[in-house]
């Protein structure tokens, strides 16, 4: 039994079958990559996991509990965090405030009427937020307004916001898209570090094969909404069906 069990999930958009009978199991403490050509349904699948979309049929179980029909904030509180394909951050807030919010969400839950506390007095939370910013090398940018960050920094900030919550399952939708090579390598190192430091399961969608083969322990290939094969990275590299469906058009 994996920590995440997806069984028989279907999702249609009008006439388009975006997901067709998806079965997928993600083992605890592994990095599981989902690859596939554009429009394969990778983001749609993630959307079904975090409460943004509800599948037409099938089941999604996380740590033994169904996530279907729950609100995004409830699913996050169950221990699933998500990095989006285009960074979702609080663009009008400072970098520091961006990481403070997930810290409060983790400690205080989905709602707390903390109107008469002062942020400056929350020593523990401030330390946590500073530590994660140091981890992603953004401490010196803490007072910048998030919208003024470079695209790469926005991605790192979003990653920090997810990591500081110490989720049990981290979903990453193309975490290195739009990053320079050096930043991509930093991100790989960061994710490896995180992986080594704590128990965390990651499901990662990625087009950059360098990233996929550096991190993944299992790979699922999705094509036209259906999983084609699932195997170890070594076996995927040489798989004829994969070459045909996907790798044929991308650099390995």
């Amino acid at each position: 039994m994996g920590i995440l069990e997806i069984k028989g999930v279907n999702k249609r958009f009008g006439g388009l079958q975006a997901l067709g009978n998806v079965n997928l199991s993600v083992e605890e403490n592994t990095v599981h990559a989902i690859i596939g050509p554009n429009g394969a349904g990778k983001s749609t699948l993630l959307n079904c996991l975090v409460g943004k979309l509800i599948p037409d049929s099938g089941s999604v179980m996380f740590a033994g509990q169904s996530v279907l029909g729950r609100h995004p904030h409830e699913i996050n509180q169950m221990g699933i965090s998500r990095v989006f394909q285009t960074p979702e951050i609080f663009k009008d807030l400072s970098v520091f405030e961006n990481v403070l919010i997930p810290c409060f969400a983790k400690r205080d839950g989905a709602f707390r009427m903390h109107a008469f506390e002062t942020i400056e007095h929350e020593r523990d939370i401030i330390e946590q937020a500073e530590a994660i910013l140091a981890d992603v090398n953004m401490l010196e940018k803490r007072d910048m307004i998030a919208s003024s960050l470079s695209r790469g920094d926005k991605r790192r900030l979003e990653m920090a916001m997810c990591l500081v919550q110490e989720p049990r399952l981290l979903l990453l939708d193309e975490p290195t898209a739009g990053m320079a090579r050096a930043d991509t390598n930093n991100t790989i190192d960061l994710l490896k570090q995180i992986k080594a430091k704590r128990n965390i399961t990651m499901a990662i969608i990625e087009h950059d094969m360098h990233v996929v083969f550096s991190l993944a322990e299992r790979i699922t290939v999705l094509a036209q909404g259906t999983p084609l094969v699932e195997d170890t990275p070594e076996n995927i590299k040489g798989h004829p069906k994969v070459r045909e469906a996907y790798l044929g058009e991308a650099q390995v």
Binding site: V50, H71, P72, H73, N76, Q77, S81, R82, F84, E88, I89, F90, K91, D92, L93, E97, L100, I101, P102, F104, A105, K106, D108, G109, A110, F111, R112, M113, H114, A115, F116, E117, T118, I119, E120, H121, E122, M161, Q165
Partner: protein, 393 residues
């Protein structure tokens, strides 16, 4: 001090000093000088400044922080006034029970309206709040006349029960201290009015301002700003934005209720026109004009608009002729004719133009304008001190 850092303490002290000193500061011209008509230091107007200041401070907690634009906040102002007058009719003319009830009733009413309206966001939210407020306004004139006294307006009559009146004062008072009582101080040519009513309202406004300052600096306030910035991300970060927005809505509704209660405490009368959509629009104007999302902006906007409404509207063609009498006859007529369009009954035109200028050139409101000016002055200072980057207040 009181959970504020140094910078906020200074800001709070400045606001306290300005508010308590207002009867003097707003009367800079000798009472019998030609400029005396620009004096704003009389109790009636100063009360309006601080009462509408409370209203705008509260509105800013909703609109300035969360970005949810309510077009129905006048409903809470009206409800607060009705609640207060009912306390005068049933108990006594003491303002304490009146103010307490007006805050409580407005709070309950805003839970109801907020709960329904906050199911939508953006323009749909605005329309829902507008619809609720107009509904309240129309009901006050029709089915609710037993409570609101319809077009006459709710007021205190001598045959009202007033169970706790005893032989207490027949006018509104705070444990015997009459609201209309005032000390008049004459100094040289100047006259200053220190009125009980103003100081009660002023202290309420200072408390309201302090509360909003604390909210701005709290984790709660940060969550509200996060709602405005990216509600989607907030939800995927494990925060349920609905109770946060509802709390902000109810807090701002209670502020409006307090303002309504204070209006009735100064003049024990409540009419439905206080709930009309134009009144709701005025609250929006005040907040945006002063600077939505800034701490002090809403008060600045409230003072500005109330000053215009009361002072500019009193300048008529006759007054203008007095000012420009020194011009050659034909020129004088033209000048006064043109200027007359912008003062007196034309003050709305001036206000409208001003509002447009602010929205186009100073999206951060008058407060942003003030900050820009301060920065310019600092930069042009010859000693070359480096301009400091003060974040928006």
């Amino acid at each position: 001090m009181l959970g504020l850092n140094r910078k906020d303490t200074i800001l709070m002290l400045i606001v306290i000093a300005l508010t308590l000193g207002a009867p003097v500061l707003l009367n800079p011209f000798p009472a019998d000088s030609a400029m005396a008509q620009f004096n704003a230091g009389y109790p009636d107007l100063m009360q309006r400044f601080v009462i509408f200041g409370i209203l705008a401070i509260g509105f800013n907690i909703l609109f300035g922080l969360t970005g949810y634009l309510s077009f129905g906040h006048a409903a809470f102002l009206g409800v607060g006034s009705y609640a207060a007058v009912w306390m005068f009719k049933l108990l006594s003319m003491n303002v304490v029970p009146a103010l307490v009830l007006s805050v409580v009733v407005a709070g309950l009413f805003s839970v109801l309206i907020g709960y329904v309206s906050l199911r939508r966001s953006g323009i749909y939210f605005s329309i829902l709040t507008l619809a609720f407020a107009q509904m309240s306004y129309n009901m006050a004139y029709s089915v609710l006349t037993p409570i609101t006294n319809g077009e006459t307006g709710l007021q205190v009559y001598s045959n009202d029960p007033q169970y706790l009146l005893g032989n207490g004062p027949q006018v509104t008072h705070l444990f015997g201290l009459e609201m209309r009582a005032k000390a008049v101080v004459e100094m040289g040519g100047w006259t200053f009015d220190f009125s009980v009513g103003y100081y009660l309202a002023a202290i309420m406004m200072l408390a309201a301002f302090y509360l909003s300052l604390r909210i701005f600096r709290s984790p709660f306030g940060m969550m509200l700003r996060a709602v405005k910035s990216n509600q989607n991300r907030l939800n995927y970060t494990g925060i349920n934005s609905r109770p946060y927005t509802l709390a902000a809505f109810v807090i701002s509704g209670m502020y409006a209720g307090l303002a309504g209660g204070l209006l009735a405490s100064m003049d024990p009368l409540a009419g439905a026109e206080r709930m009309q959509w134009t009144a709701s629009g005025e609250i929006v104007l005040m907040t945006i004009l002063g600077g939505a999302g800034t701490l002090i902006g809403p008060v600045v906007g409230a003072v500005f608009i109330k000053y215009f409404e009361n002072i500019f509207s009193k300048i008529n063609e006759h007054v203008l002729h007095g000012w420009f009498g020194w011009l050659p006859d034909g020129v004088e007529d033209v000048v006064t004719w043109i200027l007359a369009r912008f003062v007196g009954e034309g003050w709305h035109l001036t206000l409208g133009l001003l509002f447009m200028l602010v929205v186009i050139f100073l999206p951060g409101g008058l407060v942003e304008g003030g900050q820009k000016l301060a920065r310019l002055l600092r930069r042009s200072r010859p000693d070359g001190t480096t301009p400091s980057n003060t974040p928006a207040e």
